[in-house]
Symmetry: C2
Subunit: 266 residues, 2 copies
């Protein structure tokens, strides 16, 4: 038993969907969420820069006494997971492999669809993780740059969102994917829209939920879980623009998001 | 007469609309465009950080021998124009004041509309510049976060773009603005859509065109213009991700955009 918090970090706000999945699956665990809002987005930055930023955040989280670290950011997972695992004395878990493995388990013969930001799709990280879990698996990828601002606007059911989703997902329907990975932490808020657009037979994989399941397993196997009756505490820390984080973040996790502290790194 | 290039910079790609306005109005002038694609966007960054980045770019441009500098970025103009004017031995011109002055000249009694990114609207920089040109002028502002990704996708006439524009501009119609400033360098590519949405009676102010006119005046009055028959050269420099800059940038300025050099700053 261990009451120390789980550290969760992202380049900004999107990782709150992963945090939410952890709150739901592990209701007695305390957390510290770090959003690097001063340096968001990581997508266009070089792998070296992303690794350097991620290591800074890791060390800050370790200084707070976290018992495990979740990289709730696709770009950081793609470029920095191994470096963080090598540097940390606690388990470090990224979002890509859990989503890729869940997609491989759910596939039924058709290709696996993957949607994400332009940076994540260009990095090919999901395709590589899927093919390492199942060599030769076909992957249909599509960058969906309008989905993040749609989510941040809260236009989940706007007629424009329907048209945008129809356009982005048309290649998925044409390729007859039967499972599609939401390869961006913002996208779980679009799940009803995406499911409506693709039809009920296509299984959507939420990387955040799969990651939360992996965290649960890691805490159990190492005896690091919080005591069953523990009352959790959730801290939120950002590197800039706390007001916008709270305003947009409340769309992601509702009233759980009280105030956020501001900490400058680097 | 002076054949030295004009330096133009932006946090990324959007400033190319300002560059285009300069090519069209000053066809004999050579230019160097610097896009800080490694650190885009500037909007969420603190004023101090934006000022520091802008000064780094200014000094790099001065090292290239530019005879004038255009800040083709709303955020940098809002936070760094005065610091750059104090630091530079050449004229430095920003995008906000030319747009604000043109709007004040064109107003016919109704309020002045201003659209921009969330950062520009929150900074209130256009409203301040408008009210300093015409004290008491009414300003109707609206952040339009989906417009930048729509432009970068090239969806200028997509049905989703029509719906998004209708939603964002509804308050402008209700307030009966008769002139609206495009307070983001990406927006000139949406001009036909915006004009269709607002109707033919509302005048759109393109800050880039107004800035180019001011540059023309500054070069004339200081005798710094290129000789009338000069053949212009246009250099493009970015701090990261040259491939994406070329791909998206060609939507902004077409075939003029050949290759771009990569220069790391900071």
């Amino acid at each position: 038993m261990n009451r120390a918090p789980i550290g969760i970090f992202d380049s900004g706000i999107g990782g709150l969907t992963v945090a939410r999945a952890i709150y739901e699956r592990l209701p007695h665990e305390s957390t510290i969420y770090f959003g690097d809002t001063a340096r968001v987005p990581y997508g266009p930055k070089s792998p070296d820069t992303v690794r350097r930023y991620s290591l800074e955040i890791l060390h800050w989280l370790l200084d707070q006494g976290v018992k495990a670290v979740v990289i709730a950011c696709n770009t950081s997972t793609a470029h920095a997971l191994e470096a963080l695992q090598a540097a940390a004395p606690v388990p470090v878990i990224g979002v890509i492999e859990p989503g890729a493995r869940a997609a491989v388990s759910a596939m039924r013969g058709g290709p696996i669809g993957v949607i994400g930001t332009a940076g994540t799709i260009a990095s090919n990280a999901y395709a590589r993780a899927i093919q390492s879990a199942k060599p030769g698996a076909a992957v249909e990828q599509r960058a969906c740059p309008l989905f993040v601002p749609l989510v941040e606007e809260g236009w989940f059911d706007h007629p424009a969102a329907e048209l945008i989703a129809a356009e982005y997902l048309e290649p998925m329907k044409r390729a007859r994917v039967d499972v599609m990975v939401l390869g961006c932490t913002h996208y779980p808020l679009l799940k009803p829209l995406l499911q409506r657009t693709l039809g009920p037979d296509i299984r959507l994989i939420d990387s955040g939920e799969e990651t939360a399941a992996l965290v649960q397993g890691a805490l159990r196997s190492s005896g690091l879980g919080a005591p069953p009756g523990a009352t959790p505490e959730h801290r939120f820390v950002v590197s800039d623009d706390e007001a916008r984080f709270r305003q947009v973040g409340s769309r992601f996790i509702g009233e759980r998001l009280g105030k956020a502290e501001v900490v400058a790194l680097g």
